[in-house]
């Protein structure tokens, strides 16, 4: 029988097995309220929260994007590990503070916090729109990753378009049946699978090369520019390298699907363990495994075999391992994608339904109607992202890093200054945030880098400056919190 069809069978079996887990778990935990559906009743334990954090953070990028980045830019991509480690401290410090405030004031989202802190619907709506649009970019790219993995490893037994449809349908079933409570258990299983999968993939990449030492020997001989900054394409200049240490920690922590984990924590212990899971998984995946895979791609595959850089891992698996191992590794890649999609679908639907559609009607409709609305929004968002994914860009990471993370990081000044600086005012936060986003996208659209610094940096520091200066010269409104 055609091994492509058999590989597809393994992946479908995996997706169905995950659905069975969701259905069985969903029967035990009926989600009757929006808080239960979106936040698992704020009771996720110290065993499940770290695993669900790994599952949310580690997406198909771990299997497709990251090896592609090492393949293209060389060792400089390790900036991702060195910068993202600080998300762990953000979870401990800012996450715990917002968790306590959320329990006290009933926040379910970043928008709720902004409205309460600044008594401003403008800030809430603006931040919610930025969050949901950036998350949808991210989400669409996850569908792209899943579909690419599925169609390559099945030898095109399923077309890219059908693979998108399969990904959309399964992610919808998981989320609509399970809600956050069901997804947490599913995520825990998928986190373990994805970590095992990436280790196996690195092993498969290293064996034909002859081990780690031989890998570096050969890369030093054939492509030494991969082994230092700024990399073969000259991307990781000093300024770009430094920017990673601002964009990535803030951009990733303010991803709603990551941020929300702090609100789901049962206690401080769960929060701390989820923080630790970040560097542990980052080091395993980005510090070692994907570095080896990306470099091995240079030695074992030709550019013609690979096509787009994101295809390094799936192509390597299909050529250098047995078909069923390739299928299992790709099932792990799909696990990574699906688990992130689940978290993103939930959080996007929450923002759209609770923060935007019910902006003035919260508490005025029944829980039953609220749940129906939330589920309908999940359906709409999945469909929209599926359609976006039909015309994918060549490399996933660059799109998310350039658009989603940089946009989300612009919410950081209003969030952090609001949390720790009593004098921060509504006017300051609104002007700073708006200016930051406008500058970010204007420089992006015009494709300019004033004085050689990326537009993000101009937007981010203008954002901080305006927030502080305007706060100093304006006074707080009546409803603003201290």
């Amino acid at each position: 029988m055609n091994t492509g069809i058999l590989s597809l069978g393994i992946i479908m079996f995996y997706l169905i097995a995950m659905l069975v887990i969701t259905v069985l778990n969903g029967r035990k935990k009926k989600q009757k309220s929006a808080e239960g559906f979106f936040l698992a009743n704020r009771g996720v334990s110290s065993v499940l929260l770290p695993l669900t954090m790994i599952a949310a953070m580690q997406s198909t990028f771990a299997f497709l994007g990251a090896p592609g980045m090492y393949y293209t830019h060389g060792v400089s991509y390790i900036a991702i590990v060195l910068s993202q480690v600080w998300v762990a401290l953000m979870v401990v410090y800012f996450g715990n503070k917002i968790r306590k405030l959320a329990i006290k004031n009933g926040y379910m989202s970043l928008g709720d916090y902004f409205q309460d802190r600044y008594d401003s619907k403008y800030i809430k709506v603006f931040a919610s729109c930025v969050s949901v649009l950036m998350t949808m970019v991210f989400l669409a790219m996850q569908y792209v990753g899943n579909a690419r993995a599925m169609s390559i490893v099945s030898g095109d037994a399923i077309s890219y378009q059908w693979a998108i449809l399969v990904s959309v349908i399964f992610s919808l079933l998981y989320v609509l049946i399970g809600g956050a409570g069901g997804v947490v258990l599913l995520d825990a299983v998928q986190a373990i699978i994805l970590l095992l999968g990436i280790v196996v993939a690195a092993w498969i990449a290293l064996v034909p090369v002859g081990g780690i030492q031989e890998l570096f020997h050969q890369v030093a001989e054939t492509a030494p520019e991969l082994l230092s900054r700024p990399g073969p394409k000259g991307t990781y200049t000093g300024k770009y390298w430094f920017m990673q240490f601002i964009v990535l920690p803030f951009g990733i922590w303010l991803c709603p699907h990551v941020w929300m984990k702090s609100l789901m924590a049962k206690d401080e212990n769960a929060l701390a363990k989820s923080a630790i899971s970040i560097p542990v998984s980052q080091i395993l995946i980005y510090g070692f495994a994907t570095l080896f895979i990306g470099f091995a791609g240079h030695l074992l595959l030709t550019p013609e075999q690979i096509g787009a850089a994101d295809n390094v891992l799936p192509v390597m698996m299909t050529i250098h391992s047995k078909w069923f191992i390739a299928a299992l590794v790709m099932a792990a890649a799909i696990a990574a994608g699906i688990s992130t999609i689940n978290a993103m679908l939930l959080v996007s639907s929450q923002i759209v339904s609770q923060d935007l559609i019910l902006l003035n009607k919260k508490g005025m409709i029944s829980e039953k109607k609220n749940m129906l609305l939330s589920r309908t929004i999940v359906l709409v968002i999945a469909a929209v992202c599926g359609v976006i994914a039909l015309n994918p860009p060549e490399t996933l990471v660059q799109i998310v890093q350039d658009v989603a993370y940089t946009g989300l990081a612009q919410l950081a000044p209003a969030f952090l200054l609001g949390l720790y600086w009593k004098k921060c005012t509504r006017m300051g936060a609104a002007c700073g945030m708006t200016a930051g986003i406008v500058i970010l996208f204007a420089t992006r659209i015009l494709n300019v880098q004033p004085l050689g610094w990326p537009g993000f940096m101009w937007g981010f520091f203008t954002n901080i400056l305006l927030t502080v200066l305007i706060s100093l010269v304006t006074s707080k409104g009546n409803g603003e919190r201290a």
Binding site: A88, V92, S228, F245
Partner: protein
């Protein structure tokens, strides 16, 4: 929690990662004949960062337990 000490260590480790040192650019020296110096530096820093995060998280849990008991 000793926030001052944590803050100081954080700033040092952050800068050690964020500053694009000249030795990480261009042709590399190789440790043990195969490991590029830049990568060796980043791997060591990565592990030191992890140890620091583990320590902060441990202190954070202990301190919240103490607060609860009080």
């Amino acid at each position: 929690m000793n926030h001052k000490l944590i803050g100081i260590i954080f700033v040092i480790l952050y800068l050690l990662g964020a500053v694009p040192f000249a030795f990480t650019e261009g042709a590399q020296a190789y440790l043990f004949g195969w490991l590029p110096l830049s990568l060796a530096y980043w791997w060591v820093l990565m592990i030191v960062n992890l140890i620091f995060v583990l320590w902060v998280c441990k202190r954070f849990v202990e301190s919240s337990k103490e607060e609860e008991e009080e």
